[in-house]
Symmetry: C2
Subunit: 493 residues, 2 copies
């Protein structure tokens, strides 16, 4: 056999092998950033819970802010309108007025016209114009500063909007995004998948999880010293998992900081309707920016995300949301529009649900009265549950918990005994993961350990939703308390 | 002023500027791959059409396979079920039997139970188990080879599944994906955004757009010689934009090629229900793979994509679809599941629509009879239109067009006169873009130039859907013919 001699110049560049163990899809052969990404909300705890459920054990899913899964009822009026939109032939049926309130029929007709009569057609990639106008009117009324529908994209839930922004901003591993710690892991997972760097700034647990400007500045300086280009600052208000509501003064600090440092702001405001106290109402970052006036009002690049999944609608399954882009470069906005176009369009039922969220029926009128009675009772109940849950955690030995001012979560700190930390270590688990796994095993309650969100090293937390209904929440609290007492009896130093 | 001397070792790495012209979102400061991506289906022609529509001009959107936008009616039974799912209180209403057929009521009850009674809750990221089982049963019946629900992910339309696959496979600029040319630009746009390389193989226009194994092998060899690692081969059957249906022999060649060369197969089979002739029925790649037996059946990694947007449902706006993953590494499948989890879940209405697609009502029974009458007439009409459109193009001077065996498009070749090519050059446009812009201006017909899909250099095409309804298609053809005659009169050599 003649062995051909190939000089280096003649040889083609080496092609990497495409398989490992005979598989193209071996994880070692996949996009490493994808493999590296973690999403704790559906991670180890969730998988273990699914196994338990398959074994027939009662499992209470408080790991995800999924209100209807824990018994929150959808707003009846909204569902009536959606049903008519999907089966518009009902609008012509002689019995329609016996089955649907007049307001729902009128609203469905109006919305259907906005869709050109066709819920089954692709729309513009930003959603239909009439709903974008309704969103603009809602924002204008909320903030007292006019919004432009051209800046509004409807999306399949808020996550899609967040991804659009991060995908546009992150160019390579030298680009960083300031994110709160603890944070909702959509941010960490998406940044990792895109090959960027999460630049952490720690929320101040001792000050009700407020954003501390000093630590923010320090985080930015540290990242820059490491050679990172910090492109944007994300924040979540009301907080997930932390439940704080930021006041206007704190938000003004953030807007000024973004302006001084030349950063885009990513304002995750999906819990704006979930407010459980009167001292700190929700204030949007855009309102604060416009209230500050120039130079902020016309220069700070800001994206604000909202969703139908939270609030009193809780329509997670329908996947509706929007993003408002402010002060973007027109060319950059066009690039985002193109990105959305590759996705074709947000689903039309989700779009219609956004319309119903931002433009609810007026309180007068029969359907409106029923809607608002259901709405107000649902909100009042969440408010009571925020207290019940916080009080329950603060009543446990070695647990402290800031009050859930807004959003849907309690994020108690677990001061775990040294023996529990050792037991966790022996089991090869992070201490809070160990606690949450034991809790799941003993009670069927699925939570998410603080490690999934990030926390100050050496501190341990867990996240639970406050969503169990009031007729079961005392049962929930009893189970939690009984477990915790046993846990402490076993591991107390 | 003392100038501090900083040695190179002491200096922090240089941070790039974060703005251009005062904007973080200046396109020059964005992810270059995102900016580079093109999506012609919603590109220059579409934007120009929107302007004309704003000016009040009649515009006929044949640029996108969007059946309901051109008058295709949704299947009534499906919409009745969806309406009941969204407003389940109707199921308890005394008048429900007067407004909905019994089969729709029964089906809604069954589906609703599968969703745990809650269309507004997040589901598992792969969709609910009962619908994944229905999809598996559909595939099993179609192919005569059993499918496993564990391999099936429900998705928000087929595009999402394609993105999951490409995102997992593309690691860096040395990774390539074999794609047909012409191709649906979801592939080119997504590959560009992910920073990978599209490796083109040319479909054989002279052989009804079949896949030619010689040119496939040549394309792979060429890519490898350039140092690329080719990870997978994508193909679209029936073809978009080309309309061919691949026969079992051609598919067997592809399966063997993938096995020999160690490539994953990405089978875009979203038009499997759009077949307009009897000689070549749709055959799935997975059926061919299993029919071939070993070593193919248990080794070729294959993803097959399907959707509710096409076929006779045409429910583009509802965003439902699925992907079946075959022979994947279990760890790789787990990574894809994690990726889906970060997206939370596919929308529930889209999931339910997948159920209705794969498990239609039986032909006996009142609702089933009506359903199938509507279905069969819709398919027969599409079949007639496929002929009308092909014949119309072949009747034009200097135009040749392969018959639309399947899918929803005609992709005629335009043999443009040299003077038209010169005029295009003078206008700074590709010749086919020039033709399509003139067509739009003269008639309001929105098409997509061949450049948007790729074509053999020096050839020119356009894509139009065959979707205008039969009562308007002759009007459409008349406009097209009148324009073309004028165009040729103006530019004929």
């Amino acid at each position: 056999m003649v062995r051909e001699v190939v000089t280096e110049a003649q040889a083609p560049p080496a092609t990497r092998p495409n398989m490992k163990d005979g598989k193209v899809t071996h994880p070692d052969m996949m996009n490493a950033n994808l493999v590296k990404a973690e999403y704790a909300v559906r991670g180890e705890l969730y998988n273990r819970a699914q196994d338990l459920a398959k074994e027939g054990k009662e499992v209470i899913y408080t790991n995800v802010g999924n209100p209807q899964n824990l018994g929150q009822q959808p707003l009846t009026f909204n569902r009536e309108v959606l049903a008519l939109l999907l089966a518009p032939q009902l609008l012509e049926h002689s019995q329609v007025a016996n089955m649907f309130p007049a307001e729902a029929i009128a609203r469905a007709k109006k919305l259907l016209a906005g869709f050109g009569g066709r819920m089954g057609a692709y729309t513009d990639a930003r959603g239909i114009q009439p709903i974008r106008e309704e969103v603009a009117a809602f924002i204008t009324a909320r903030d007292g500063h006019a919004a432009d529908p051209e800046n509004i994209f409807l999306t399949d839930g808020a996550s899609v909007g967040v991804k659009f922004a991060l995908q546009a901003l992150i160019r390579d591993a030298s680009d960083g995004i300031l994110c709160p710690i603890p944070q909702y892991p959509l941010y960490s997972a998406t940044i990792t998948m895109l090959g960027g760097q999460l630049v952490p700034y720690y929320l101040d647990e001792a000050a009700d999880w407020d954003i501390n400007l000093e630590s923010l500045r320090a985080a930015l300086a540290d990242a820059r010293a490491r050679g990172l280009t910090v492109r944007a600052m994300a924040f979540i208000n009301p907080g997930n998992p932390t439940g704080q509501v930021l006041d206007a003064a704190n938000l003004a600090d953030i807007v000024k900081f973004a302006h001084e440092e030349g950063l885009m702001l990513l304002a995750d405001e999906v819990y704006q309707a979930n407010i459980y106290q009167d001292d700190k109402p929700f204030v949007s970052a855009r309102k604060v920016m416009y209230d500050l006036g120039e130079p902020y009002a016309s220069s700070v690049e800001l994206a604000s995300f909202h969703t139908v999944s939270k609030g009193i609608l809780g329509e997670c399954g329908l996947r509706g949301g929007y993003v408002e882009w402010l002060n973007l470069h027109p060319g950059g906005l066009a690039e985002l529009y193109k990105t959305a176009s590759i996705n074709l369009c947000p689903n039309t039922v989700g779009q219609a649900t956004v319309s119903l969220m931002v433009n609810p029926p007026p309180r007068d009128g029969a359907a409106g009265a029923a809607y608002w009675a259901q709405h107000d009772e649902s909100l009042a109940s969440l408010r009571r549950r925020a207290h019940v849950m916080t009080d329950a955690f603060n009543g446990l030995e070695g647990v402290t918990c800031n009050f859930t001012e807004g959003a849907m979560y309690s994020f108690p700190r677990l001061h775990l005994p040294a023996r529990a930390v050792e037991a966790a270590k022996a089991a090869g688990k992070a201490p809070d993961t160990f606690y949450c796994l034991e809790l799941l095993q003993a009670t069927g309650i699925v939570t998410v350990p603080g490690t999934g969100f990030g926390q100050v090293p050496g501190t341990f937390h867990l996240r639970t939703t406050i969503l169990p209904q009031e007729d079961v929440i005392s049962h929930f609290v009893d189970k939690l308390r009984a477990f915790h007492e046993e846990f402490m009896a076993k591991y107390r130093d």
